[in-house]
Amino acid sequence: MTVVDVVTAVLLLGGALSCLLGALGLVRFPDVPARLQAATQPQTLGMVLILVGTAIRLEFESAATLLLVALFQIITAPVISQIVGRSAYRAGTLRRDDLVVDELADPMARDDAPVRDEPPDSGRGR
């Protein structure tokens, strides 16, 4: 077991465990925004660790591509969270009792349609 193998083993197992914890959080958390957090942060960390663990074993060109994919995932994970989180907030799938402070509720921060807690008449979508 050379040093490279040991480092690869540590990275791969760490990444896989991080993915597992993320998936566990995805199942256990109460509402969508909490599950979003479990779905993006540990998964992205796990993926980056696994990609780096793989990149070590390959020649430079392949390793560069893998690290590019890891960088791409790091950049896009927050974008996905923001889009899905905004839809979750607007679609009302948020558990109000869990919220400590709701910064989006005051009209100043709202960009367009107000959040409707009571079910509106259906079919009014923009």
Binding site: L26, V32, R35, E61, V69, S87
Partner: protein, 88 residues
């Protein structure tokens, strides 16, 4: 070394199983979108481990393509949901 790869793939399989639970049980569509996004990441991790096992870079475009498509798919689906009907 093969033990490490086997254990890693087993852990990833367990994570995929947990994600399937959320995918099937998720009350709202957004949960399912999130679960699918996690599945995409797990597929990418699985292919990366496969590349590590064989030490050849022939499957790397697959890793890149799946990561890109996973992101675009999730973003589009989430935008689609926002414009649609109510979700409880």
């Amino acid at each position: 070394m093969i033990v490490v790869f086997t254990v890693t793939l087993a852990i990833l399989a367990a994570a995929a199983l947990l994600t399937m639970v959320r995918l099937l049980r998720g009350p709202t569509t957004l949960d399912r979108i999130t679960a699918l996004d996690v599945l995409v990441i797990l597929v990418v991790c699985g292919v990366a481990v496969y590349v590590a096992i064989n030490r050849d870079g022939s499957n790397i475009p697959l890793v890149a393509a799946v990561a890109l498509i996973g992101f675009v798919g999730s973003a589009t689906a989430a935008r689609l949901v926002e414009r649609g009907e109510r979700h409880r």
